[in-house]
């Protein structure tokens, strides 16, 4: 029983990271209807920036905030330079754009910081949480930060005018323009926020998986799985999906013989396919209903 509880809690902790990545993916998907394959690399690059700032002697939380700002602006710049010109291009052009972005960010990070594995500090330490062996303080911190992020995002979209404008632009761009919303900037803002959310995921997972240019590969696939499970149109679904996928991953790895660490990734992919076949809109996604 203790093994079970332990695995579930650890699953919730890594699930928090998947939830952040899924949120970032969903934000961009809502804005431009495409999956950002480079979301993980953007997060990885941000994490390196945080690491570099700390190497220069800045305290953790200062580096954290500066990295958020850097990522937010970086996300907007990427949208303006690369994806705004592609706005009306077909799907395959977008896919090529995302892959290019993926490769560029990955190589630049390798060039700047090389491919050796680096330690990344945790602001929460790694002692047992509240004296319990079930979960570490860092894992508890990951869950805590994700929940705060969620509440802030919810408040932003629900109670601010910019949040309302972003929702309007994402759901019906033409109508949004007709009430005077600059939908182009709303998309850019979505990219900025997605990049910032991704950077939080990167900084939280780096102490666990260690910092190196390929650190986010597996995490992003789980993030995609989480987004698909929750339904790509629902931020809340993305988060619930993240936690579910985290728990599922751990339980399957523990209880199904022969899975272990090596087969965990295919399980995420199997999950994506299963959801797409059985319930294509995910748990929380809306089926688009149109009056005709």
């Amino acid at each position: 029983m203790e093994l079970f509880t332990n695995q579930v809690l650890a699953g919730i902790a890594t699930g928090a990271i998947y939830a952040c990545m899924a949120l970032a993916v969903v934000m961009i998907y809502q804005a431009i209807d495409h999956l950002n394959f480079a979301q993980g690399e953007m997060a990885m690059f941000s994490t390196f920036v945080a690491w570099q700032l700390m190497q220069w002697g800045l305290p953790y939380w200062v580096a954290f905030v500066l990295t958020l700002i850097f990522s937010f602006i970086g996300g907007i710049v990427i949208e303006r330079l690369l994806f705004k010109p592609l706005a009306k291009a077909p799907v395959l052009t977008h896919v090529a754009g995302f892959i290019a972005l993926f490769a560029i960010i990955n190589s630049v990070a390798g060039l700047l910081w090389d491919f050796t594995i680096k330690q990344f500090p945790s602001p929460f330490g790694s002692s047992p949480f509240l004296g319990s062996q079930l979960i570490s303080t860092h894992q508890a911190g990951m869950i805590f930060v994700t929940l705060i992020l969620l509440v802030l995002l919810f408040a932003f979209f629900r109670y601010t005018r910019v949040g309302l404008a972003m929702r309007a632009a994402a759901s019906m761009p033409e109508s949004a323009r007709l009430v005077g919303i600059n939908t182009g900037w709303m998309i850019a803002l979505g990219w900025g926020m997605a990049a910032a959310i991704g950077s939080i995921a990167g900084m939280l997972i780096a102490p666990v998986v260690f910092l190196e240019p390929n650190m986010m590969g597996g995490v992003l696939i789980y993030g995609f799985a989480a987004a698909v499970v929750g339904g790509l149109s629902s931020p809340l679904g993305a988060v619930v999906g993240g936690f579910l996928v985290g728990i599922f991953e751990n339980l399957v790895g523990t209880y199904i013989p022969g899975v272990g660490n090596e087969l965990k990734l295919p399980i995420a992919l199997a999950l994506i396919i299963t959801v797409l076949v059985v319930k294509p809109n995910g748990l929380f996604g809306r089926a688009i209903v149109k009056r005709v």
């Binding site: 929702r167 019906m172 007709l178 009430v179 005077g180 919303i181």
Partner: protein, 237 residues
Amino acid sequence: MTTLLNVRDLRAYYGQVQALHGLEFELREGSMTTLLGANGAGKTTTLRAICNMIRSTGSIEFEGNKLGSRTTENIVRLGIAHVPQGRGTFTTLTVEENLQLGAITRKDKAAIASDIERMYDHFPVLKQRYLQQAGTLSGGEQQMLAVARALMLRPRLMLLDEPSFGLAPLIVRDLFKILGKINREDKVTILVVEQNAQLALELADKAYVIETGRIVMSGTADEIANNEDVRKSYLGY
């Protein structure tokens, strides 16, 4: 009375196909004008061209401002509210959020709140449903919401594309009554495109008849209503 909107030599294109062939008309400030014409004559295209939602050439002047190179959202910000065909409702958002969005370019929070109350006075049914998803409203309610949302901009000019489309005759009467009230009391200039020519002519001061992308007739609403050709083609008697 001064000219609010002046359209000269307007040509509009869908890809290679030219839909408007040098359209010319003007709207007097405070007037209610209707644009009549058969399906495919270019009525919707004219409204879309004013808001720069399709490629067009020619000159459109609104209160002395050239609209030519402005984006849709900047034209809206000048005070032109467009209620498109299909109403442009944000179907996944609530009724109240739709009204908030109508005023999204305004900064005066207190006035926005009082305007929302005013809209609920105009359209009491919206007040009953203010937390309901707009997509679940009936067609008539959605059209009222669309008009209310447009008014939240405090527009100088309101463009209405077939407001009667798909609505029951009684609801259409109500809606046009409210439009007349808005035109008189709030001094909003209105350009309405209608298939229901009889109703539109009853209410409007001025009318233009458009055929295959050209204005073929213009005059006061009474003149147009009494014109034999118009009677036969659009009024059916």
